[in-house]
């Protein structure tokens, strides 16, 4: 569900970037990038099996 929302948000950002206001596109882009990083942090819970 969260990825459907992310792709929908990116579709809207692209449509605004192409047809709408530049300022709104930049603001929506920032919100979407932050949302994608938040989604990453939510999913990145598996421990990395690394040894150095």
């Amino acid at each position: 569900m969260e990825f459907t929302a992310l792709f929908l948000a990116i579709t809207i950002v692209m449509l605004v970037a192409w047809c709408g206001s530049r300022t709104i596109a930049l603001a929506l882009f920032a919100a979407t990038l932050i949302a994608s990083v938040a989604t990453y942090l939510h999913h990145a819970t598996d421990a990395l099996k690394l040894a150095f």
Partner: protein, 185 residues
């Protein structure tokens, strides 16, 4: 570098992004390999990478538009590297099938790294930017228009695809079928 040449190169970049998104769909549909959450996240970053070139095509090249793409590519590379590290231990078969010896997340990392280098190279050419620093509309031709709409269509297809795959719940870690198409027993 002239503004029109920079716009053409940005349109080519959009076609490259469209190619990546289409190739991911091809693997999903023909090999029936459903993307995992981290894979989908990398796909979102490839899609988000298209915003900068789209703004460059519409409003003319501007350093801030390239900055959007740089930030996205850096985040995408971090997400891909996370998945590479999850499967880096000897004996780990990796997630999904390999293409030319590399798994998709390794290719994604390479793709984001190449994007960072290419965006850095584009920023070297000051001649493409307007003299007063304000974005000025660029005359985009049919080639660039088609590139933008192609990418928008592919991203919209991903909306439908992820809805079919994950339904209205959180996406499973190791998806094997489309949850929304699954019939209840």
């Amino acid at each position: 570098m002239t503004r029109s040449l920079a716009v053409t190169i940005n349109a080519l970049g959009l076609y490259a992004i469209a190619f990546v998104l289409a190739a991911a769909f091809a693997a999903q549909l023909w090999l029936n390999e459903l993307p995992c959450p981290l894979c989908l996240l990398q796909r979102t970053q490839f899609a988000l990478l298209a915003v900068g070139p789209t703004l460059n095509v519409r409003f003319g090249p501007h350093p801030s538009h390239y900055a959007l793409s740089l930030l996205t590519a850096a985040a995408g590379a971090a997400f891909a590297m996370r998945q590479v590290l999850l499967h880096i231990m000897p004996g780990d078969p990796g997630y999904g099938s390999a293409l030319l010896g590399y798994h998709y997340y390794s290719w994604a990392f390479i793709g984001f790294a190449v994007a960072i280098v290419l965006i850095g190279a584009m920023l070297l050419f000051d001649g493409q930017f307007a003299a007063n620093g304000e974005p000025k509309p660029a005359a985009a031709g049919a080639f660039a228009h088609a590139a933008v709409w192609l990418v928008i269509a592919l991203i919209a297809l991903n909306v439908a695809s992820t809805l079919l795959e994950c339904g209205f719940a959180a996406c499973p870690d190791n998806p094997i079928d489309y949850l929304l198409l699954k019939r209840s027993p």
